[in-house]
Symmetry: C2
Subunit: 452 residues, 2 copies
């Protein structure tokens, strides 16, 4: 915790890597390209999951679970999809180890336990799922199927970066089946809208919604909708995709249904996903040279209280004084940590919670008890304020209410950058065919855009 | 939905297999030994997850995520554990496929993409986690570590059964690190108590808490606590385990900490888990020859309303009449389905919701509108009742309140069987060294036990 972060202006990429580790979010594991998501990082991911899961269910989707493995023959059935992932997949070839006779205590692969057909660790689940849907769909009565899966997937990436690109990552993948093209197209757009809504209103990340050009599309899709976020280094980050798959997978797996007129037709499909990469977008959108900055809704610890004391009596007194305030905050569903660890000094704690992006820090010492004050520190502004004890609660709740607003206001300049980028991309006819600008524009914004 | 289930008395095992499929809980996939958990089954699992997750967090545990793969050298580090799982693990040996030149459109393993070191798909995560903890633990200040992981694991089972024994299954695995033996032992017992509390009070499954004999212990553990449930066929089912791992993993991965006196010592460990096997226990405890029976807390649909109508006007009238009741139930957080699908007949719906174990079914037809009545059917008792419209809500809410009690009362005879089994096992000195009887005994129970 002692060493400072590299500044963004010095080396943006280094800043990011250091931040992820120092803020206790994730770290590289001993498995090439795979990360360990630490409890603090995972708690943020859980909050994202809970909100997304609610939004999926509110729009009629259900969760289910399909196998981790895809038999090779199923994997290769949809040719474009197979081609797109063949070069980066982990392959299971054996199902047993045995003792190494030449090396006591060591194990080797048992060559007698070779699989007849190799299994691919899923890089995405279209193949295994459409092979299952085949048995579930006979008639229009069985449609639509609106299923989502929370799962881990593996894509053997050569150059990995924590959260942004890892060999194994966590994600959700929606897989829906429809009776006609129009319904499937609407579903793909709906889910892209949900992603955009989630990114902007829950994570405070401004995004543009786009439609990918043919070369950038998901392998096996007819259209790929996407949300793209702009990072502080001016680079765009693909933050979510929603695919209209046409009848490609239905044809590959021979999934037909009898329509109301009794005629057989291939089923229409979509798939859509966001992953732990969103953690990377979150970090890069909000954070600064002092560490992580978290929108309050995503902060695992929303308020931390650090007591400053020299004796047990002083700690007791502080605890007594602060407890009613903590109780009130908890009642308002604000998560509070009273960091009274006696194993670490206050300076260490200040630093730790600053780099971990706790939105509000309260410090109370013996002097505060005398003067009936305490110190409130706001992480987003890096600003301290000395406040009377009896005004603390009102102040905190006020902060809380305006926080969402603050995050949007703060993001205004970034939003403008995105709009500028958008114009550039449209002019250059780059990889995005921009379709919709998702952020409501003010008159001023439009003026600026028109001038360009 | 048309064919009846095999009766339990005819073929218990066949009854179970049919029930899992017909109740839409899960099915076999095209991957050997791996199952597809269908939306209805997954919704039950989600309810179990949410409650367990809350109980873990309430006792100070945090979630995190570790890699799916374990490099072979780490896998073999703790010898007993490695030996225990070596014969049933999926091994990744390659990381790329390529086009088969002799077979257009087909893919084959690219022999140039052979891994230097094979990766084992985790059968359990002690190895990868303790190799990580090594870097997290230097001093007593870093302890305890109380982490849980929700994940998929793979154990290559030869004979599989849906939920009870599958090659891939979903579970949670807790992995904790402690400064002394006593604390670790207490943790292992605490988590076994949480499992027992969960099984009995949330799932309505009576269990006995036991301590396994040496031969039945988890590979690498010094003690294994467990909960065992009794199924309707008289067989016991291991429903959860909690292991005191001693210093075995700390020694295998060289994880030492400096205690308060500055002396180095190996860290003490526990691990504990329950899995989708609990779904099997749930099914086998409550269900009957008509299908699934669900404790109300675990039912994805708690009340289903089936309108019986011949014309759109009749449906409209029924909808108008029933809507206020549905709204009241929803306000009380009771999940309600108004099954007005026009693609299926009432008889089909009755059958479907019966086999899927929806606790309460309400039927309303034109006659009910005339007479101001409706029919309530209770799945646990398989009993219909005709009730006045204006008494429906009171009745339903009354049912709801007594439901928990009903499930416990219903289980009383089963509980007695378990106690009898317990005595037999103690006498035979079987694989369980019974330590604690978890269920509060009444005076009558004790009398019966003493007589034996």
């Amino acid at each position: 915790m002692s060493k400072k972060l590299t500044k963004r202006s010095e080396d943006y990429s280094k800043w990011y890597n250091e931040l992820v580790v120092k803020a206790d979010l994730a770290e590289n594991s001993s498995v090439r390209g795979c990360m360990v998501i630490k409890p603090y990082g995972y708690a943020i991911w859980e909050k994202m999951q809970a909100q997304l899961d609610k939004m999926f269910k509110d729009t009629g989707h259900q969760n289910a679970y399909f196998p981790l493995f895809v038999p090779k023959s199923l994997f290769e059935a949809e040719e474009k999809n197979a081609e797109g992932f063949a070069k980066e997949c982990a392959v299971v070839t054996h199902y047993r180890l045995k003792n190494d006779k030449e090396n006591s205590g060591k194990l080797i692969v048992d060559e007698n336990a070779k699989l007849e057909e190799e299994l691919i660790v899923r890089p995405t689940s279209e193949a295994i799922i459409w092979n299952t849907y085949k048995n579930w769909i006979q008639s229009y009565r069985d449609l639509p199927i609106l299923i989502n899966q929370w799962a881990n997937v593996v894509r053997w990436e050569m150059r990995t970066r924590l959260f942004l690109r890892t060999a194994e990552f966590l994600w959700q993948e929606g897989h829906t089946a429809h009776a006609n093209k129009d319904e499937a197209l609407k579903e793909a757009e709906l889910m892209n809208n949900i992603y955009s809504d989630f990114a902007q209103n829950f994570m405070g990340i401004p995004v543009i919604k786009g439609l990918k050009s043919e070369s950038e599309r998901f392998a096996g899709a007819e259209e790929t909708y996407c949300i793209e976020a702009l990072m502080q280094d001016g680079k765009a980050l693909q933050a979510g995709t929603s695919h209209f798959l046409g009848q490609n997978f239905a044809k590959a797996f021979d999934v037909k249904f009898a329509n109301k007129e009794g005629k057989l037709d291939y089923v229409w499909a979509t798939s859509w996903g966001v992953s732990t990469r969103l953690m990377g977008a979150l970090i890069m959108t909000h954070s600064d040279d002092n560490g992580l900055v978290l929108p309050p809704k995503l902060a695992p610890i929303q308020v931390v209280v650090i007591p400053i004391y020299r004796s047990d009596e002083q700690l007791d007194e502080i605890t007594k004084k602060i407890t009613p305030i903590l109780d009130e905050l908890k009642k308002k569903n604000i998560s509070v940590l009273f960091d009274n660890r006696d194993t670490h000094k206050p300076g260490y704690k200040f630093n730790e919670h600053e780099i971990k992006g706790v939105p509000i820090r309260i410090a109370v010492g013996p002097k505060d008890l005398e003067n009936s004050t305490l110190e409130i520190f706001r992480r987003d502004k890096m600003k301290k304020e000395l406040i009377d004890f009896d005004k603390v609660l009102t102040k905190l709740i006020f902060f809380w209410k305006i926080f969402k607003l603050i995050f949007l206001i703060k993001l205004r300049p970034l939003q403008m950058k995105i709009l500028e980028l958008l114009i550039v991309m449209m002019n250059l006819n780059l990889y995005l065919k921009i379709k919709v600008v998702s952020y409501p524009l003010t008159g001023m914004d439009l003026m600026r855009l028109k001038k360009k």
